[in-house]
């Protein structure tokens, strides 16, 4: 008797399990997830195509799609300069971080030196240190050195924020490359630097791509330090200038949405073209 009900329960469970794994359920779940992720972005896009007054008409779709809000955000308020600043700051940060981080990652993957494990743990802790804790010291140090309201100040903060991450990721990439390759290069008469530059670096290019893309995106997204260091049109980034709409007595919602769309487009493009590298980078290079 009990064996029979046990079997029934087993079959019921099996049917339910199969149903949950069926393509319909899987795609329904993913459809809902994508809807949740994409809907807010679509709403920003639709809002940005209205005028600042049309927002009060309560339509889902813009009646007369116009780029007026973009014009107000980018030219009347001059935020096109913030876009340029963002591009300069993110690119410069990425170059500096990669130039410093890639050799360091290689050193951790190949060489022993005094306290090497301790230094590596220090790098991990630096990565996990809460940046909000350093905002007040950074603000005061930047004031002291005249770096407030400069692009250089934001780049320095970005190097602090993303260098440890890149060292960690690059180390994991270099680890996957056999030491024999270095040794073969040395036997063939390369110096250690040449072996690194001409033999190992080309092999680890996917890792370098992942590190570069991740650093660029993180620098582009960054708000806390960019906001603390600069709210001046000469040096502020586009995420900061978009936020500044909020401080107005009557918020120009459509123009704010336009600025938000402009700030999001580069990120979205990078995701569309380099999804694979981002996934590899986010998993810390551990997936190879």
């Amino acid at each position: 008797m009990s064996g029979r009900t046990g079997l029934d329960r087993y079959r019921r469970e099996q049917r339910l399990g199969d149903a949950l794994e069926s393509p319909y359920v899987v795609h329904l779940v993913l459809f809902l997830a994508v809807l949740f992720i994409v809907a807010p972005l679509v709403w920003e896009l639709l809002t940005s195509l209205k005028t600042n007054d049309a927002v009060y008409n309560f339509n889902y779709f813009p009646r007369n799609p116009t780029l007026e809000s973009y014009y107000i955000a980018l030219f009347e308020r001059g935020y096109w300069r913030a876009v340029v600043n963002s591009i300069i700051i993110s690119s410069a940060s990425t170059v500096v971080v990669m130039l410093l981080g890639v050799p360091a990652g290689y050193a951790f993957s190949r060489y022993r030196f005094p306290f090497d494990n301790l230094v590596f743990v220090f790098i991990l802790f630096t990565r996990l240190f809460p940046p909000i804790g350093l905002v007040v010291p950074y603000y005061r140090i930047m004031t002291e050195f005249g770096l407030l309201n400069t692009k250089l100040g934001i780049v320095i903060a970005n190097v602090y924020l993303w260098l440890p991450l890149v060292v960690y990721i690059m180390r994991n990439f270099f680890i996957t490359i056999p030491h024999d390759l270095d040794e073969a290069a040395l036997v063939d008469g390369c110096t250690k630097i040449q072996a690194f530059r001409h033999v190992i670096l080309p092999v680890v290019m996917p890792g370098i791509a992942a590190g570069t893309i991740l650093t660029f995106l993180y620098s582009w997204r960054e708000f806390l330090f960019a906001f603390t260091v600069s709210t001046d049109l000469n040096s502020m980034t586009i995420p900061v200038s978009t936020f500044l709409f909020v401080g107005d007595t009557s918020v120009q919602w459509a123009s704010m949405a336009a600025a938000a769309v402009v700030a999001t487009i580069p990120s979205a493009l990078v995701v569309f073209f380099f999804q694979r590298y981002i996934v590899v980078g986010l998993t810390g290079g551990l997936k190879g």
Partner: protein, 316 residues
Amino acid sequence: MSEAYRRVPETRYGRLKRLISEFANDHIRLVLLGPALVSLVVIFIYPVAFLVWSSMQRTLAFGATAEFAPTANYEAMLSDPTFWNAAEKTLTYSFGSFVVTMLSGLIIALALNNVVRKRLRDTYTTLILLSWAVPLSIVGVTWRWMFNGQLGVVNKLLRDLGLLSGNFSWLANPETAMAVVIMADAWSRIPFATIIILAGLQSIPQETYDAAKVDGATTFQTFRHVTLPYLRPSFFVAGLITWMFAFRAFAIPFSTTGGGPAGATEVLAIYIHRFGIELFDYGFASAVSMFLVGVTLIVAGIYVNVILEQLSEIEA
């Protein structure tokens, strides 16, 4: 070989180049690692030292002067009810975001893992990654706009569906304001959790699943006895990172509500920013920062241990 190399007459430039290259070869660790470590000392250790020092200075007269008082700021902090309010909000915020992010991440990752065609799976992954790539302040202003009391699309949708008559001020009500910032935070964090959990799922050998199937295990039994044990490490890492990063979150709550209404969403990060940057009370803000750093470092210690174990397993 080196003999022939040395006999070539050297120009001054060539000699310099050779000396540099020889130096680099002899001090390879210094050359590779030096610049990065020196940079980190200047842009990380120095500010950290500055933080510790300034947490022991009592700030007088709008940050203009300060006097040494090692425990004054900490005492002021611990006896300040607004600090405890911020600490409580931070816990609600970070655990709320943690629960929503990890549950959604797990469900989405399981679904993604069941998509057979790689092309389709990549398309889904790309779309889901979008919210992670959005600049953090844009996340905030977007949710602020959607949940706006008079003009927000959420109110309009609810009205059109007949679920709401009139308007509801989501961000003016303490409970719903907190719920909205938590959802905004989770929205931006779900992709990361999904990716890490998915990587964990994909590392489970297919044979294990096949064996379970042959033995007649149901989907639930397979999940319970095969998937979960394998998934534990990556789920743990994703969860720890999610919680730790939500605990320190600034940009999203700050740009969604600015900490309001009346401190209902004022997490510690906003609290530090308010005292340190807006009110120039450097000493007090530094003490609160030290508290936040301390909590984070304890959790970070656990994380680093797990990561080091994982690394040594992979490299073994």
